[in-house]
């Protein structure tokens, strides 16, 4: 047994090392948090803590419900309207919500739904009526969360709709099902597993939502735990309070992750094809579906248009001349490149090690396989259990304990957070593909006795590169757009683009803020579109033929 294990050491050790390193890091963080203050102080819970917890759970629950409802209706409409022009562009656009910085979304939503936003302006011009202010508080938070997550949900759900065997539709048609019956008996059962997994993901994301709540919350009444941690450290300098909240946040999100890990699969079903469903929709149903698509498109595109419209009027000469902008821009770029490279490498190591424990012709039949495989999965999904601000607080406490310039600690914190944030997505994309390459090439590779490098060059890379490109782009955008941990460490000496934008939004300089928002949007969207293509383009003719 050991001999066989030894035979795989080349690909096992890096992955296991990474996995243990990550878990060790989590443990260190946890010990630092736990050891930092007097325990009596921490365990005393007052009404405010309960209030915070209650609101955090409440808004996450509502956000999830809304996102799912909108996501299902949208996916349903898209699935049955498979042949209009620009459908694939639309679907691709919705999927970009995954990488849209939350800060930009808040910025765009204010431009549309704010008291002086487009909707009120149009309404005043046409009917002399203003809807007033409704964007700050719970409604704003829900709106932004739905914006970000409904599009994400619809993408995965659309894939599920399209994977329903066409025979089932034919059968339902022949039984004379109504559209409603079709949904209940054919579509809903197929959606259920996907629904659970995206619901749990959305819930976790909303539970630890930061930038949206920070900007649109508007009052301590609408604070989530994350924002309260930030305020306790940066505003109140009440480390004991921050710690108390961080431990609660940590406990609950870990519970949620453990509870939901059973059905958290297939986040990566992002590739959709236009498959015609053999069911011609009734005229009025078709109208409903087209209206849903049109409305959601408006809902999704308008905030982006505001960013473009407001931003294009900015004085870019002045923005580029600002040394803090240049500094933030370069810092962001360096961190984005570094963290996306790291993410790809770590995800490859982890999935390479993981497939040993799940494949029959490798080590899947061993006793230790299942726990080790789980361990690797858990270490890759740490971010969902340890939210950004909790991690930030840990780093902050470490920085107080061990002498080093704050910039060093801040860089370490931001880089770690960025990598961990992208890892769950990277793993869910790369792991299944690597699994497949192993299934496909293992026998060939073993019989040809190919070395590790040869295997990589001839078998793995050609098969993986489009996924790698996608992961690279994803990690790059995540890192570039994140306003999480930087909120604790940001300063004039250490600033990233989102932090700089947040500072601008907080000062008089709305024009510059609009300009910077546009710059951020352009970089993110172009990276998200261009980088995966860059990787794809190298696909040789033979490779394409083989895929068919």
């Amino acid at each position: 047994m050991l001999k066989r294990l030894y035979g795989f050491k080349g690909s096992l050790l890096p992955g296991l090392f990474v996995s243990f390193f990550l878990l060790g890091f989590a443990l260190l963080l946890f010990m630092t948090l736990l050891g930092a203050e007097d325990p009596v102080q921490i365990t005393r819970l007052d009404e405010r803590v309960y209030g915070l917890l209650e609101f955090t759970l409440y808004q996450a629950f509502l956000s999830t419900l809304l996102s799912l409802a909108v996501g299902i209706v949208l996916a349903w409409s898209l699935a049955h309207q498979s042949d209009f022009k620009g459908r694939s562009v639309l679907v691709a656009l919705f999927s970009s919500s995954l990488v849209l910085p939350t800060l930009l979304v808040a910025f765009g939503l204010i431009g549309i739904y704010g008291r002086n936003g487009w909707i009120n302006q149009i309404s005043i011009a046409l009917f002399d009526h203003s809807f007033g202010s409704y964007l700050y508080g719970l409604s704003g938070i829900l709106l932004a969360h739905t914006y970000l997550n409904a599009s994400f949900a619809s993408r995965s759900l659309l894939h599920t709709f399209e994977s329903i065997p066409k025979e089932k539709y034919k059968l339902a048609k022949s039984l004379g099902f109504s559209t409603f019956q079709r949904f209940i008996y054919v579509e809903l059962p197929a959606l259920k597993p996907t629904l659970l997994s995206i619901a749990s993901t959305i819930f976790l994301l909303c539970f630890s939502s930061f930038a949206i709540v920070l900007i649109l919350g508007g009052s301590p009444a609408y604070n989530t735990l994350e924002v309260a941690i930030y305020e306790a450290v940066r505003i109140d300098f009440d480390i004991a309070m921050a710690l108390k909240l961080a431990l609660i946040q940590l406990a609950i999100s870990t519970l949620l992750v453990i509870f939901s890990s059973n059905f958290r699969t297939g986040l990566s079903n992002l590739k959709t094809a236009s498959v015609r469903i053999p069911w011609k929709e009734a005229e009025h149903i078709g109208w409903i579906q087209r209206t849903v698509i049109a409305l959601f498109t408006l809902f999704f595109v308008l905030p982006l248009l505001v960013i473009i419209a407001d931003g294009s009027g900015a004085d870019f000469g002045r923005i580029f001349a600002e040394s803090l902008f240049v500094k933030s821009f370069l810092t962001s770029l360096v961190f984005a490149v570094a963290s996306s490279i790291l993410t790809v490498v770590l995800a490859l190591f982890l999935s390479d090690a993981k497939r040993h424990f799940t494949l029959k012709n490798r080590l899947a039949d061993r006793v230790f396989s299942k726990p080790l495989s789980l361990l690797i999965s858990f270490s890759g999904n740490l971010y969902l259990a340890i939210p950004s601000l909790v991690m930030g607080l840990g780093f902050f406490l470490l920085s107080q304990k061990y002498e080093a310039p704050i910039v060093v600690w801040a860089s370490a914190a931001v880089l770690t957070a960025n990598v961990l944030m992208s890892l769950p997505f990277a793993l869910s994309v790369l792991s299944p593909v690597m699994q497949k390459t192993a299934q496909r090439y293992d026998k060939l590779v073993f019989s040809l006795n190919l070395g590790k490098v040869q295997r990589w060059i001839y078998c793995e890379y050609p098969y993986l590169k489009s996924s790698i490109g996608y992961v690279f782009a994803l990690a790059f955008c995540f890192s570039l757009g994140d306003l999480g941990i930087i909120a604790l460490f940001g300063s004039d000496e250490f600033s990233t683009l989102p932090w700089y934008l947040y500072q601008l939004m907080g000062s008089y300089r709305t024009n510059d803020a609009a300009g910077v928002a546009l710059i951020l949007l352009v970089i993110i969207l172009s990276v998200f579109v261009a980088v995966p293509r860059l990787f794809e383009r190298k696909v040789s003719g033979g490779e394409v033929a083989e895929h068919k």
Binding site: E47, R48, G51, F55, G114, R115, N116, G132, S133, Y136, G218, S219, P220, A221, E231, V233, R234, I235, D236, F237, V326, K327, L330, T331, L333, V334, V337, F396, Q400, P405, I406, S491, D492, Q503, M505, G506, S507, Y508, R509, T510
Partner: protein, 334 residues
């Protein structure tokens, strides 16, 4: 690509290091962002002070002045700050308690302040009164008291600042506490539906107000002077409240950890000179604490002037600030 960025970054770091090692000493002042803005007081003060000090004056800004204090606390011994500028008398005691600040040894007894002032560490440089500011073209029915404010219709919205991060936010908290005492929490509950959003610092609220997001913003009786002088607009006004207005005396102090103490002292005494006072009214839009060379601009005569400055004793504030804030936080819970 990566290499280019790397090279750029390294060059950039080197140049900034080179600048740092200028022959002249650099005095670093932490303050809030509306002070350092290009139209704020900082650029002119830098120019005026550098003429006499043979030094470089560097302002580092944060979104609020309490934010600047927290930054110094976070940085601890490593802080680059020599001076913290922008706290007010309500929060200065909290700062004093950190033990980070040094005595100023200046005579502050003959300053032109509406109330007597004495503090070993913090030197005042300007003052004003908190007030709710509105656009008289848009708002016809102007509340003239806190009662009237809380009784405005549901869709009437105000912008205020967080008392934990902003001196103006804390000012409002204390203003209401002075007037309502035990019933302050109940008053906040009544006011809550009218609060559009609570921002970290003053400038964030003020820019939201100027964008038309709310009917009123918590600011100063002196804010309208900015619009009169800089924009020639008379429609931005401060509402006069018959209960009286809470005052703000802005102060600065030097840090014990400062490496340029002589220079820092020189700056603190410069704050009490007419040269500094000349800059304040039309940049920081407040009243200076010493006589200016030419008196105040005409626009200042059109401002409302409260008959009395409400001001809670700093020690009392420090003793109960946490309790007041908890009361506020609890009142604002749904």
């Amino acid at each position: 690509m990566f290499k280019i960025i790397h090279t750029l970054l390294i060059t950039f770091m080197f140049t900034s290091v080179a600048f740092g090692q200028d022959i002249k000493p650099t005095l670093t002042v932490y303050t809030y962002n509306s002070f350092t803005a290009s139209w704020g007081a900082a650029p002119k003060i830098k120019e005026a002070f550098e003429r006499e000090c043979n030094c470089t004056l560097k302002f580092v800004s944060t979104s609020s002045s309490i934010g600047a204090l927290r930054k110094i606390q976070l940085e601890g011994k490593h802080t680059k700050a020599d001076i913290l500028l922008g706290l007010d008398t309500s929060i200065a005691q909290t700062a004093n308690k950190t033990g980070l600040f040094e005595k100023h040894d200046l005579n502050t007894s003959m300053l032109l302040l509406p109330v007597p002032y004495k503090d070993e560490n913090f030197v005042p440089y300007d003052y004003s009164y908190f007030a709710f500011v509105y656009d008289s073209d848009k708002l016809k029915e102007v509340p003239d008291s806190f009662e009237a404010l809380a009784s405005m219709p549901e869709n009437f919205k105000i912008l205020i600042q967080d008392p934990r991060s902003s001196t103006s936010g804390l000012g409002l908290l204390l203003w209401i506490k002075e007037l309502y005492g035990e019933k302050a929490g109940a008053y906040w509950k009544r006011l809550a539906p009218h609060i559009l959003t609570i921002t970290k610092g003053w400038s964030e609220s003020y820019s939201l107000f100027l964008k038309g997001e709310a009917d009123m913003v918590l600011s100063y009786t002196t804010s309208p002077a900015y619009h009169m002088i800089e924009e020639k607009k008379n429609n931005i006004k401060a509402a006069s409240f018959k209960e009286g207005h809470y005052g703000q005396i802005e102060v600065a102090a030097m840090l014990k950890s400062s490496k340029h103490k002589a220079l820092a002292r020189e700056f603190l005494s410069f704050m009490l000179s007419p040269a500094f006072a000349d800059i304040i009214p039309t940049t920081n839009w407040a009243y200076p604490v010493v006589k200016t060379t030419k008196g105040l601009p005409n626009a200042f005569e059109q401002l409302i002037v409260p008959s009395k400055m409400l001001l809670m004793d700093g020690k009392k504030v420090e003793a109960s600030r946490k309790a007041y804030i908890d009361e506020w936080l609890n009142a604002l819970r749904r």
